[in-house]
Structures are given as C-alpha cells and as structure tokens.
Symmetry: C2
C-alpha cells in the first residue's frame, strides 16, 4: 500500500470502470503492473468491491428518508437483518450505538409507500420505535482525499 496504490484506489473511487491502461497512464506504470496492483488491492480487501450507483429519483423513487429504529426486546438480530434485506425500499442499513439500535436509508415513490414500509417494519420485524427525517440533498465529497492522510 504505497503512494501508487493510494493513487490507484483514489482513481477507482471516482470511476470504478477505468481500464487498467487508463489507470496505468495516470500512475506511469505498465498496464500489466497496474492490473496486478489493482487485483492485489481487491484480493487483500482494501478495495471491497465495485458497484454501479443508482439514481433512485430517476427510477421513480424521489422520496428519500433516514430512519432511526429501536427494536422490541428479544428481537433476533440476524432475523431482523434478513427482514431488512427483504424490503426493497431499504437501500442502506447500519447497526449503531445510542438511543436507537439501527439506522436505515429508504427510497420510496411517495409518502404512502413509506407508510407501508414503516407498517411492515413494526408489524413483521420487531421495530418498536421510529424517528425519521427527510433527506434533502446529498453533498458531493472527494472520497479519495482520505488516502492522502
């Protein structure tokens, strides 16, 4: 994990479909060596994976919310995780400390759909309390900057 690896990761954070040749030009190595390095970064777990990013608004789900969830006593964690994975509107989920147990991010067609998601969470998945806020705007950052530290 030297300076060149950090550069490669930074480039791939920006555009995960850059070819090895393009990466190679940027770091001034051969395409081959570059491919080796990138594969090793993936194999070693530094790069967890590559993923397309979806515009949920463009597919008809413009209502985005962050909800804190508290579970009822005795709700099984793994079962709850599987339950979350079964709700398509839930696009991200974290176990957290503090007042609530989980925080999820949700993308819905509208308020009625969100109401349905909440109802399912409470009725079928052991959710006792919810606090939600509307997600207004995703602030664009420069994820690669963390590698410069």
């Amino acid at each position: 994990m030297d300076a060149i690896d950090r550069q490669l990761v930074a480039l791939l954070l920006e555009d995960g479909r850059l070819t090895y040749q393009e990466l190679a030009r940027a770091v001034r190595l051969s395409a081959n060596t570059t491919a080796d390095r990138v594969r090793k970064l993936h194999a070693s777990g530094v790069i967890r994976g590559y993923h397309a990013t979806l515009d949920h608004t463009a597919i008809g789900r413009p209502l985005h919310l962050i909800s804190d969830l508290r579970l009822r006593e005795g709700t099984d964690n793994d079962e709850f995780h599987r339950g979350l994975a079964g709700i398509p509107q839930v696009i991200e989920a974290f176990r957290v400390t503090g007042e609530y147990d989980y925080q999820i991010r949700v993308a819905c067609t509208g308020t009625e759909e969100f109401e349905g998601v909440l109802a399912v969470l409470k009725r079928e998945h052991g959710v006792r309390e919810v606090r939600s806020r509307l997600l207004l705007h995703h602030i664009p950052l420069t994820p690669g900057s963390i590698l410069e530290l």
Copy 2:
C-alpha cells in the same frame, strides 16, 4: 427501462466491473446490444456512476461514526459543503430535515482523530451542535431488489 434494463442495473449494482460480454450472457442478448443499453442507462442518468468501495478499516481507520450537525445561524450552505469536502475523514454527507441540519459519516484512526474532526467542524465551519453515535455494523442488503418493484 424495461425488464432487461432492470436486470442489467441489478447486476451492475452487485459488480460494477462486469464486462459487457458477461452482462450479455446473463440477459441473453449480444454483447453489443448490451453495451448500448448500459451506455444509455448511464447517459440517461439511471446509473449515476461506478465506484470502487473502500474498506476503511483495512487502511487504518476502524472508527466509524454517524454525526448529526446543527449549524450556527448565518452559516453559508455552499461554503459549509466545501468545508466538509475538505475534511478527508468525512466519507458521506447529507442535508436533512428535523432537529439537525446535516448528517455525516466519518471514518477515523481513533478517538483523538475524531476529536480533531469535531474541533475543526466547530471552529472553522460553523457547526454549533453535534450528536454522534458509533457505527457498529454495516448490514449487507440486496440493492437490486428495488428494481423488482
């Protein structure tokens, strides 16, 4: 945006580096037609982009937190956004409604570093109040399921 497009997007959400040939095999079209469709999905904005995902723990930042931020009166939003982008430990940021104005996700080497981030936010970027919780576990979901609706 028909059933095949949805299948393609779902595949690329899982693995953003799948080749057009691999995608083509999965949806039983020619590599060419598949490439056309994927390029159109990107051009039309359904696919926002492709990005490598970093394992922050693997690069020495195992402390992950979610912090709610409230800004002081009169703090300029765009200026604040630029400020956030200048803090490498901030890996995601949203403008939200509710009790707080923003929610950010942070990855740090340890508590001292996080303390430093909080200090900078308050001293230099107009943050008035912070509420943080530790991020314990990222629940793995199936992002493509949203396309099946």
